[in-house]
């Protein structure tokens, strides 16, 4: 994903310098790209989530309105989570594009912030510009946890794919969070 509003796919095996395919459907810079086994999910500043389904040969474009900062698949591959600059996270049904959930409370207006899903798809997490990391219950949509990480913007966020383990980056610090003692049920950080 590039700021020139293209997504470029290179073939690592052939080591050719030019891309195999250029996906230039986006009208503005591409802020986030995720790849599943047969899809390419991308969020663009033009406020659209585009999902290229290679198996079906289709392009699905979902309009969100606000510039997308980050997209990610759910672990079951059914949903797509999108963070946008209107301080909202949206969980969309991948197949139909319907809104399944909306998560607010954090602040995301200027920075390109990450959003994550936990390893069990139970919670939705997002970085915030107020130095917190917020976690919502995926089903309820209620704020489950706001984790104080630092004072500045939490630039990057990453969740372990199988373990309850979080990695944050803020103000020159990279922190690894692993607290099992908080609640046995789910709210890990």
């Amino acid at each position: 994903g590039s700021i020139d509003s293209t997504i470029r796919c290179w073939d690592c095996r052939s080591r050719r310098p030019d891309p195999v395919q250029v996906l230039d459907e986006a009208k503005d810079g591409v802020s986030s790209v995720k790849v599943s086994d047969h899809e390419i999910l991308s969020g663009s500043v033009d406020g659209r989530i585009r999902r290229y389904d290679l198996r079906a040969g289709q392009l699905y474009s979902d309009y969100i309105g606000s510039p997308i900062t980050s997209v990610c698949f759910s672990k079951d591959g059914q949903c797509a989570l999108a963070a946008s600059l209107d301080s909202t996270l949206r969980l969309l049904d991948k197949e139909t594009g319907e809104l399944l959930g909306e998560y607010t409370g954090h602040r995301s207006t200027a920075y390109r912030l990450d959003c994550v899903l936990t390893e069990q798809d139970t919670h939705v997490g997002s970085a915030s510009e107020d130095g917190h990391v917020y976690f919502w219950d995926l089903v309820e949509g209620s704020l489950a946890l706001s984790l104080v990480v630092g004072r500045g913007v939490v630039q990057s966020l990453s969740f372990h794919p199988t373990l309850p383990c979080l990695l944050t980056a803020t103000e020159g610090h990279v922190q690894l969070w692993r607290e099992e003692t908080f609640q046995p049920d789910g709210d890990t950080a």
Partner: protein, 898 residues
């Protein structure tokens, strides 16, 4: 393991054993040379193992006689002289002799023809095409004793030659075989018996025709002898052709023929098509061409040389100078007869004041109508000059070209006859016209009851209609960047002013002022209609009508650009959808997308379009200035919401909730659904699902946390859109025709159809029961009117029903939107409820529930009926829902019309 004894495994021959031997058993190595790929010489050196050794010196004083002349063959390898070498020595049965004779004869013929032919030299190519046989004439001549090189005619006595060829002529090239010495020639020249006659000389006839072509002097075109053989046979052609025999000519011929006998002659590879032929410096310059003896200048008269007596000279001169005064060039003689002088046609006389540069002088006559025209033209085109210059001149119309050229407008027929009339007369005319039109309409109306809309109406009527249709909607038309006539800025400007005035609600007559006055009346009428249509089209592009038409996918034209076939729709609708949190079909665009094959491979996914060569989104060619480039047709919003609602319904009621979330249906509704599901038997579950009114869905949106003001706005918008939909008559006109076929069967179904109507009325009445406690009075009126109209309109809707049954289960948006309309009414109710008493919500839900139950009961009845008539139940069922929706959907329109 079995091993067969004696079986030899074939091994590839190693490289060092891959050898080739020549005829004498010597090894040869492969070599990349031309001659068969073998080595030249001894391992690419000279011929011996010792290398090159100079031959021992032999004094030529004693052995002068057997002096050996080294030819090219002496430096050749044996292989070169063998059968496949470059100079085979074998005796081959070629037609060398015959071909040579043929060449000589043909050459002669060609030379004669070449001079006479229209394009000199073309005959050279005949040789390439013509047969290579000797003609029978030549054969006969030969039989009669003729030999090549001889002339034809009686044998003559010959004068002794005065000049012998130089005995020490050096022959370049390959040496002659010793047997063929020049002795015979010498003998012939020296020995001159008295009684021997000779054949006449073979002389080229000199062409003395006057030069009439435009070639340079002495140009002969492609000289075949030069081009094809590199032999100069004609250098010493005696132009003066005097009586004396010229032996050099004969000798030249002889030498020529001699040279042809040699095996290797001429240039190795010939002359390329693109290179000029060089002078053959070796072959052509023989000493025989030069005079070795001083002799007289004039070969024609051999009596005296340049030291001739004066009288002799002057006598010769005077004879010429009688005719021609001036110096005659060497090699030229005076023509015997003068050529006819070519006729000269003098150019026409130019007028005295003629100037070779043409310019147009704009002349504006001070006439009355001309002035008006001028002004109008200035108004219409004045500022657009700069834009117009960018266009190609082919895109201009007559008036634009006129403008650019600075010409005055046509004086002949004025724009219309009306221009000449006074204001009063014009008014009167118009009145008369309108009156007559009214009459016409009145007469026509009874004949065409409701199809009148599709008859060609008079312009006034049409514009009225348009105006009505456009109504307040056109307020947003034209002001935006919608430019349907962008190609013609003048027209676009006219259109914009036209739309502006339309917005302000001016009369149609006033609107005509915005049209180009220089056009004819017919043109103006057409343009007006065009403008109306454009305005209408743009307006209705947001409504459902435009969604019915799909763009042509394949067009070929010159003036086209490649644009993506599917474009993401405009964002306006989507934003409203996002505000309403109605994600799903509204916000989704789905395109065909072709992934690169390699990408598929790397993703380990089969290529979805194995036959296509496209990568990415498929593109189509489209008109550069097409209206469609400015319009993006949005999805039909109403029908889509309907569809999505239904889909949700399906998903939910089929007990397949995809994702659990708090936005899902509430518990109460789930209970309701359970009760519903009790009703639904598995066999016809799907039909019933479709039939269920999407009440839960609306409740969803109604009770959702985000039901705020924006929705109100959008709802109203939608209402407006509903109103602006094309009239019902249109659908009727489309569908009514097919109803006749079904009329026979409709009787059968009539008793079934009675049921739905009652049910509809049922539901409406329940609504009315609901209303008094909460809603305002006008709403109530609305609903009341709805019911009334629904009852009154039933017959027509029935017709429609019959018609639409043919079109399968899927509902056209016109009908489904009707349902949506009713939903909106309800929604409004909800909202009002909420605003008034939020606590009442629970209560209302119960009511809704009650209503539902009632409906369910109705449906239960239906089902019993359905069980009776199993075969036709499906269609009837769907028709039920249709009927239900139609009646309500029609109502607002009917209200408007009254």
């Amino acid at each position: 393991i079995y091993l067969v004894v004696g079986e030899q495994i074939k091994k590839p021959v190693p490289l060092q054993e891959q050898t080739v031997k020549d005829a004498k058993g010597r090894y040869q190595r492969f070599h990349g040379a031309f001659t068969g790929g073998f080595s030249a010489g001894y391992f690419n050196t000279v011929g011996t193992k010792e290398g090159w050794t100079p031959s021992a010196f032999v004094s030529s004083r004693q052995k002068r006689a057997d002096r050996t002349i080294l030819g090219p063959e002496d430096f050749m390898d044996e292989e070169d002289l063998s059968e496949f070498g470059i100079a085979p020595k074998d005796i081959t049965t070629t037609d060398d002799f015959a071909s040579k004779a043929k060449d000589r004869i043909k050459e002669k013929a060609r030379q004669i023809a070449g001079v006479v032919a229209a394009i000199p030299g073309t005959t050279a190519f005949d040789d390439l095409i013509g047969p290579s046989k000797i003609t029978i004439g030549v054969e006969l001549l030969r039989k009669m004793g003729w030999k090549e090189g001889q002339g034809i005619g009686p044998r003559v006595k010959r004068k002794p030659c005065r000049q012998k060829p130089d005995p020490a002529v050096k022959v370049y090239g390959c040496a002659l075989p010793p047997g063929l010495s020049e002795g015979s020639e010498d003998e012939e020249d020296e020995y001159q018996p008295e009684n021997v006659t000779f054949a006449p000389k073979d002389v080229m006839p000199v062409d003395l025709t006057p030069k009439e072509n435009v070639h340079g002097i002495g140009y002969k075109g492609l000289d075949p002898s030069q081009a094809l053989f590199g032999v100069s046979g004609r250098e010493h052609l005696n132009l003066f052709g005097g009586g004396s025999e010229d032996t050099s000519n004969l000798l030249g011929d002889l030498r020529h023929s001699k040279g042809r006998k040699l095996g290797i002659t001429g240039q190795a590879f010939g002359v390329g098509a693109l290179e000029e032929e060089d002078d053959d410096i070796y072959a052509t310059e023989t000493l025989s061409k030069y005079d070795t003896v001083l002799k007289d200048e004039e070969p024609g008269d051999g009596l005296y040389g340049w030291t001739a007596p004066k009288q002799y000279k002057s006598k010769k001169r005077s004879e010429r100078e009688v005719k021609y005064i001036g110096k005659i060039l060497d090699g030229f003689s005076l023509a015997s007869k003068s050529s006819t002088p070519s006729k000269i046609y003098p150019p026409p006389d130019l007028p005295r004041n003629y100037r070779p540069v043409h310019y147009f002088r704009p002349v504006i006559a001070a006439g009355n109508e001309n002035y008006r025209l001028q002004k109008a033209l200035e108004e219409s085109t004045g500022k657009l000059e700069s834009d117009m210059t960018q266009q190609s001149r082919h895109a201009l119309n007559a008036s634009q070209r006129r403008e650019r050229l600075g010409e005055t407008g046509l004086k002949g027929p004025a724009p219309s006859v009306l221009e000449y009339l006074s204001e009063k007369d014009r008014e009167r005319l118009k009145e008369v016209k309108q009156a007559s039109e009214q009459q016409m309409k009145a007469r026509m109306l009874p004949h065409q009851s409701r199809n009148s809309r599709f008859q060609p109406a008079s312009p006034a009527d049409a514009s009225h209609k348009w105006q009505m249709l456009l109504g307040g909607q056109s307020a947003n038309a034209g002001s935006s960047d919608f430019k349907p006539f962008a190609r013609n800025p003048e027209k676009q400007k006219r259109y914009e002013s036209f739309v502006k005035s339309l917005k302000q609600g001016e009369k149609v007559d006033a609107l005509e002022h915005y049209l180009d006055p220089s056009m004819t009346e017919w043109e103006r009428g057409r343009e007006q209609e065009e403008f109306f249509r454009a305005a209408m089209f743009y307006k209705s592009s947001n409504s459902a009508l435009s969604s019915r038409f799909t763009r042509a996918k394949y067009e070929d034209d010159v003036d086209k650009v490649e644009v993506p076939r599917d474009q993401e729709n405009d964002i306006d609708d989507k934003e409203t959808a996002v505000k309403m949190k109605m994600f799903g079909k509204l916000t989704r665009d789905k395109f065909e997308w072709h992934p690169e094959k390699l990408l598929c491979k790397r993703f380990n996914v089969p290529d979805p379009y194995p036959d296509s060569s496209i990568v990415g989104l498929p593109k189509v060619k489209r008109d550069k200035y097409s209206v469609f480039n400015f319009l993006t047709l949005p999805e039909p919003t109403t029908s889509v919401t309907q569809a999505t609602n239904e889909k949700i319904q399906q998903n939910n009621s089929l007990n397949k909730p995809k994702k659990p979330s708090r936005w899902d249906v509430s518990d109460k509704e789930k209970e309701k659904k359970d009760s519903i599901s009790e009703f639904i038997s598995l066999a016809r579950s799907k039909v019933d699902v479709q039939q269920q009114p999407p009440v839960p869905a609306t409740e969803e949106s109604g009770t959702g946390p985000s039901e705020t003001l924006p929705t109100e706005v959008t709802n109203e918008d939608k209402d407006q859109e509903e109103e602006s939909r094309p009239p019902m008559d249109l659908f009727k006109a489309i569908f009514v025709s097919s109803s006749d076929e079904k009329s026979s069967s409709s009787e059968e179904e009539s008793d079934e159809e009675q049921q739905p109507t009652t049910s509809v009325i049922d539901s409406e009445t329940t609504k009315q029961v609901d209303l008094p406690d909460s809603s305002s009075s006008n709403l109530q009126e609305n609903v009341a009117a709805t019911t009334a109209s629904s009852v009154s309109l039933l017959p027509t809707s029935k017709q429609e029903l019959d018609a639409t049954e043919e079109f399968g289960p899927k509902l056209p948006p016109a009908f489904s939107s009707g349902r949506f309309c009713r939903l909106l009414v309800r929604k409004e109710k909800h909202r009002k409820n909420k605003e008034k008493h939020k606590t009442k919500r629970e209560h209302k839900h119960k009511k809704e529930k009650k209503k539902k139950h009632k409906k369910q009961k109705n449906k239960g009845k239906h089902k019993i009926k359905k069980l009776e008539k199993d075969s036709s139940s499906d269609t009837v069922d769907s028709s039920d829902s249709l009927n239900d929706t139609d009646t309500t959907g029609l109502s607002p329109k009917e209200l408007l019309r009254r």
